[in-house]
């Protein structure tokens, strides 16, 4: 059993939780994730490790309430317990010196982006962050990201904050201005990652994306999380979740993420959430 030590409401649908899980905290690295199960009847869902405190033995997750499990999780409070919390899973990000990096987070993708921003900055990179969301309310971790960035840009689809438009527009502008970019990382909705990869492809800028397929075990046993990368089948839970953005088959990922849409809706309806 894993205790919820802290809970913060980031926005209407986004919550942060610190969970006591000393073994996970001890090993966690930026770019990795955990899988949790709330109770006996619960589903196993993956969430990125947004932060960790090795001394206190806690792991921070930030999640958007999109369906049955994440909504249920959002109703839990400090002192409540999760039945299962396993990790750290997946390969950590390559924290290297690239020179200038552009870090793009969309929506809930900002959460997993944040620790990578922090560590790339600590490595001595010049960090340009671009955060985007549908509207101001869905933006998060702005201050935290800003603290570790040399430049910060914000876009919203409706212009309620920052530039009206998409994160990819800002990226295109930076490229057009002739900025020398060593690496671009994009985490967010699949369609956003696809667009970002399309922007950087003609310029051959190294582009990493973090994929979020449906998972079950997280140990490479089921293959439910398989994604097609450069025409090879990879298991995102052990080979990823980060991959070369220019090689990912995004359309297949979008398709596979819709596998259980009807069932997910049914589940929510029955639970009244």
């Amino acid at each position: 059993m894993y205790e919820i030590i802290e809970k913060k409401v980031m926005s209407e649908t986004v919550k942060l939780m610190k969970i006591k899980a000393p073994l996970v905290a001890k090993k966690a690295k930026a770019g990795q994730f955990i899988i949790l199960r709330i109770d006996e009847k619960g589903e196993r869902i993956p969430l990125t490790i947004a932060d960790y405190d090795r001394k206190k033995g806690t792991v921070t997750v930030i999640f958007m309430e999109v369906g049955k499990t994440t909504k249920h999780l959002g109703t839990l409070n400090v002192g409540d317990f999760l039945l299962n919390f396993v990790g750290p899973l997946g390969q950590p990000s390559d924290i290297e010196k690239y020179g200038t990096v552009v870090m793009i987070g969309g929506g809930v993708g900002i959460a997993p982006l944040y620790p990578i921003v922090r560590e790339l900055k600590q490595m001595g990179n010049y960090v340009i962050s671009i955060l985007g969301a549908r509207n101001e309310k869905l933006l998060m971790l702005e201050k935290e990201v800003e603290k570790h960035s040399d430049e910060l840009y914000i876009t919203t689809d409706d212009g309620s904050k920052g530039d009206k438009g998409f994160v990819s527009d800002v990226l295109q502008k930076l490229i057009d201005e002739g900025r020398k970019i060593g690496m671009v990382m994009a985490i967010g909705p699949v369609i956003m990652m696809k667009v970002v990869a399309n922007v950087t492809r003609p310029y051959k800028i190294k582009t990493l994306v973090s994929l979020n397929p449906i998972m079950v075990d997280g140990t490479g046993m089921c293959g439910g999380c398989r994604v097609s990368v450069g025409n090879e089948t990879k298991f995102a839970c052990v080979d990823g979740p980060e991959f070369d953005g220019h090689k990912v088959d995004y359309d297949n990922l979008m398709l596979r993420n819709r596998r259980f849409v009807c069932e997910e809706e049914e589940s929510c309806k029955l639970a009244g959430v």
Partner: protein, 461 residues
């Protein structure tokens, strides 16, 4: 009196009834029938059945005690060689092991050794399991990685020898394939739990949610433990490697069975994990895993459940009983048929599989006749779901993260007969060493490794 030529029947749920539920198919012998069946045994001096048993259970001896009505003694004899009799009594391929060697086969059916084993285990469970005496506690600690049959057996035996044992399991339930792979109707999860409880009562501690190689490494375990046993199984699904395999509707057998068994998707939405199969399901392969997939699909409401297999019926690797049960339940077999391509609709949802007819050629390395495609024989089958059950390879996670550990060409951990690896403190056994095999072989490997570990610990001092 002449010996009865056939086994006494074991009552079972009718095929029509059972495809509507997940309850176990056979009911098992009652005491009276068990005694009658035991009386069929000839008590052969040369004991061929024992030679056929991978863990050398003293078969004639336990059968003799059943025949004499001393069931408790029979249980005791059985349990000196197996920690998981209720499991083995249900899933062992007896026909190619003990029963395959039985002298009675010369005149008819062998003694129902598997049925008798199952009877004993169920008898004992109902009565309350006796915890055997343990050796005096030693000051040695052993870490076991993976709570499948290999790991659990090794852990139980080491505990009996007085060592302190901790099992590290990646998933949230113990049992390995017994829990996430083999379905409820063949191996009720209550039985797996009872067998695991027995191992816990021997003093074994099981820690869940620990992916060794990620949460903690074997090298780290070696700092706190005197020896490590690796029993992480063959969990890596193999693929057909044909176009369309990543479409919505194509599952690995592992994903499908894990969703249904471990996550209980058959009870969705009471349980949160979904599974979706549509009306027509095709399972590729013809081993136990494939039969489990095909039969599970019927129970989840599939109108048609196909087995598609590239060789013929004699080469099907599944246990006879599984194939029989599958046929009785209405699974349709497309033999000498190989898939070449999956196609989806405009949304990318699986809609059909293209297959090619095969014929058998000369025997290959496995001794089975090689299937050869018949050119121009391609045809299409409409399907909603495809389940790929063509085998599993050793899970690379642990082997890849242990420095200097010798790995074989299939990604398996190389060991000697007794589970020793090239690193003195590290032992391994079960599917991770042999590639996908059987429960009893995994158990046998766990037992031999426990003895080798005990020897190693005594010398280590």
């Amino acid at each position: 009196m002449a010996v009865r030529k056939t086994k006494y029947e074991m009552a079972e749920q009718s095929a029509k009834e059972r495809i509507k539920n997940f309850n176990e198919v056979p009911y098992g012998y009652n005491e009276k029938t068990a005694i009658e069946e035991a009386k069929r045994c000839l008590q052969c001096k040369n004991r061929p059945c024992v030679d056929g048993c991978p863990v050398e259970i003293d078969i004639p001896e336990f059968i003799k005690h059943i025949a004499e009505g001393d069931i408790d003694k029979a249980v005791e004899i059985l349990k000196t060689k197996t920690n998981l009799p209720a499991v083995c009594g249900r899933v062992c391929p007896y026909e190619s092991q003990c029963e395959g060697e039985c002298t009675l086969k010369k005149i008819g059916e062998p003694v129902g050794i598997g049925r008798l084993e199952r009877f004993l285990a169920d008898y004992e469970r109902k009565k309350g399991v006796k915890i055997p005496k343990k050796a005096k506690p030693t000051d040695k600690k052993v870490a076991v990685v993976g709570a499948g049959p290999a790991g659990l057996t090794c852990a139980g035996d080491l505990a009996k020898m007085g060592h302190s044992v901790t099992v590290f399991e990646a998933l949230h339930d113990p049992g390995g394939v017994l829990m996430y792979g083999i379905p409820e109707f063949r191996l009720p999860k209550e039985i797996v739990k009872a067998e695991v409880d027995y191992i816990k009562k021997l003093g074994v501690e099981i820690k869940y949610d620990i992916v060794v190689g990620k949460t903690i490494t074997v090298d780290e375990l070696m700092k706190d433990y005197d020896a490590v046993f690796i029993g992480t199984g063959a969990g890596l699904p193999r693929w057909l490697r044909i176009p369309g395999e990543n479409l919505d509707g194509v599952y690995s057998a592992n994903e499908y069975l894990t969703r249904v068994n471990m996550m209980r998707a058959y009870d969705f939405p009471n349980y949160d994990t979904p599974v979706k199969i549509g009306k027509i399901v095709a399972t590729f392969g013809a081993g136990n895993v494939a039969m489990d997939c095909a039969r599970t699909s019927l129970r989840l409401g599939a109108e048609k459940s196909y087995i598609i297999y590239r060789r013929s019926d004699v080469e099907m690797p599944a246990r006879d009983e599984e194939i029989e049960h599958a046929k009785e339940e209405g699974v349709i077999f497309h033999l000498l048929t190989n898939p070449v391509k999956f196609t989806g609709d405009d949304k990318g949802i699986l809609k059909e599989v293209e297959c090619i007819k095969m014929k058998l050629g000369e025997p290959d390395e496995s001794g089975r006749r090689r299937p050869i495609p018949i050119e121009g024989s391609n045809f299409k089958i409409q399907i909603d779901t495809a389940l790929v059950a063509i085998g599993q390879s050793p899970n690379p996670l642990v082997p890849k993260t242990v420095k200097g550990l010798k790995i074989g060409k299939w990604g398996n951990i190389e060991t000697d007969e007794d589970g020793r690896t090239n690193i003195p403190e590290i032992f391994a056994g079960g599917d991770i060493a042999t590639g996908a095999a059987t429960v009893i072989l995994a158990m046998g490997a766990g037992k031999r490794a426990a003895r080798a570990i005990d020897k190693y610990l005594k010398l280590k001092k």
